[in-house]
């Protein structure tokens, strides 16, 4: 409880003093982020960082949503008990691997692999980061969606089987629509996790804040900027130090909005039986 207020207060306090020096309009609409430059060359437009974050998140969504949903359908509708008992723990292990390990995997395995097919790929690129972030959130989508599907009553499935439906038809036309609120909220939660993910993008996606939608280039996300700024030597109270809080605030607002949205969807559109 106190933690929430502490987070809000510290962020608000330091963010406010940041906006005393940089206008909020410049921050929200500026397209250049050169906070770590010296003196006059500093520009604080957060858009490149937001774009970088959203680019990686979108890529992760493309990887994780179909695979996560298909896994959930398989586990809840098709898998025999024996297979389930093996697969579930594997997904749990996958979910428990620290993100630093995923980051290492992205940089030293996925990127070299991708380079074989795409020779002009930068060493640090959004593509490999978003693939690995996607892999990281698959277990989250799979297990939350599966919970939602398991909650659909047996009797509804049996009604459909009695009409002669195949398993696929039951899964796609009965179970998925009935569990839709849970599935969508699992997507939103997973994407919010992807937005806040730090180590994978810091290691694999690079540190060049550019406004681009090219997956093959090096970019910088909000979280990666925060790591870069915190590890460089910036003086306490300087404008760079305060920018850390402004970016942190933006990130916090993004994820908070998505978490609230997920809870709202799960409650508002829940089908009761």
């Amino acid at each position: 409880m106190i933690t929430t207020f502490a987070i809000l207060l510290t962020l608000l306090f330091e963010t406010a003093s940041f906006f005393e020096e940089v206008s909020i309009i410049e921050f929200v609409t500026g397209t250049e982020w050169t906070a770590l430059f010296s003196g006059d060359q500093q520009k604080f437009g957060v858009l490149p960082l937001v774009a970088g974050t959203l680019l990686v998140t979108a890529g992760a969504a493309i990887v994780a949503m179909p695979i996560g949903l298909a896994s959930a359908i398989y586990l809840s509708e098709y898998a025999p008990d024996r297979v389930r008992r093996v697969l579930k723990p594997v997904l749990e292990v996958l979910a428990g691997i620290p993100t630093i390990v995923y980051g290492f995997f992205a940089l030293t395995f996925v990127t070299p692999l991708l380079k074989k097919w795409i020779p002009n790929l930068d060493t640090f690129n959004a593509l490999s980061a978003s693939i690995v972030v996607g892999i990281m959130i698959i277990p989250l989508i799979a297990s939350l969606s599966e919970d939602a599907m398991m909650a659909v009553p047996r009797s509804i499935r049996h009604a459909a089987y009695a009409l002669g439906a195949t398993k696929l038809e039951v899964a796609l036309r009965v179970v998925v629509p009935a569990a839709l609120s849970g599935i969508v909220s699992s997507f939103v939660l997973a994407l919010s996790r992807a937005i806040g993910e730090t180590m994978i993008v810091t290691i694999a996606a690079g540190s060049t804040p550019v406004l681009t939608f090219n997956m093959l280039e090096s970019i910088q996300t909000m979280t990666a900027y925060m790591v870069q700024a915190a590890t460089g030597d910036i003086a306490y109270g300087s404008i760079q130090y305060k920018s850390l809080y402004a970016v942190g605030m933006t990130l916090f607002l993004f994820t908070l909005a998505m978490n609230l949205l997920a809870q709202y969807i799960a409650r508002r559109f829940k089908e009761d039986y």
Binding site: I97, P98, L189, E197, M199, V227
Partner: protein, 307 residues
Amino acid sequence: MSTEEIAVKEVPKSERERGKSGEASGRIRFRRWKNRLAHGVFLMATLVGVVVLALLLADIIRKGWSWIDADFFNRFASRIPERAGIKAALWGSLWLISITAPLTFLFGVATAIYLEEYAKKGRLSRFIQLNISNLAGVPSIVYGILGLTLFVRWLAFGQSVLAGALTLTLLVLPIVIVAAQEAIAAVPQSLRQASYAMGATRWQTIQKVVLPYAFPGILTGTILALSRAIGETAPLIMVGAVTFIAFTSGSAFDGFTALPIQIWNWTSQPKAEFHELAAAGIIVLLAVLLSMNALAIYLRNKFQRKV
């Protein structure tokens, strides 16, 4: 399960009967073919996770295994790969956990007891509940900023083990609270009523009846939360863990490094040898995590049999 199997087996029979009327059988065959195809596709999607896990482990073991020997645990970080080790990092992680573990356990259990046993179910407790579940979704790096402001600056702990451990405590507290709440809520109401009927006070009931019953669940939740804390990197970077350190921290106010920080440092070096060192560090980290999970499962089974 069994009824469902029957339902599925019934389909081919009715199909055979209708198959004689010609046209319908083609459609049914197509539908069943689509079903089989989808089955395959869904299975493949599920196996993606398994394959990635196998690739990841194989890749890391291939790169890091040869670097692991007794000296690896006994040497400090070094510019020369052959002389580098994880002594400082391992001790740093131990320090962090030995401070974080008791704190999360105490605060987590206390909060859960309050919410489940004392708090009135009203607006306030619903608000707190919503709050806790939202806290669990806040990115870890934001906790890092909080730790930086609260512990490093305001309470002036400096960039110390203590500041890092307190930050990690805040980070995993929501997880422990939720796990402990579930464990406490699972205690049958009849047990509580039996205790009250004997004239026990609320606290006596909690202490002698509820907690012993809920203990395995709480313990498992705490250990799993701690294994998350061990693997966290971003908040420690924000709090200011140092990456190059050649001593083991002597007190809670010393500077520190930790396993994930060391791994990160090695990963961001351009030299390939350092990447192999990072892989070796990852093997150690994963071994620690796996044994913690195994311990959680073991303890749960052991205590469950007693109750």
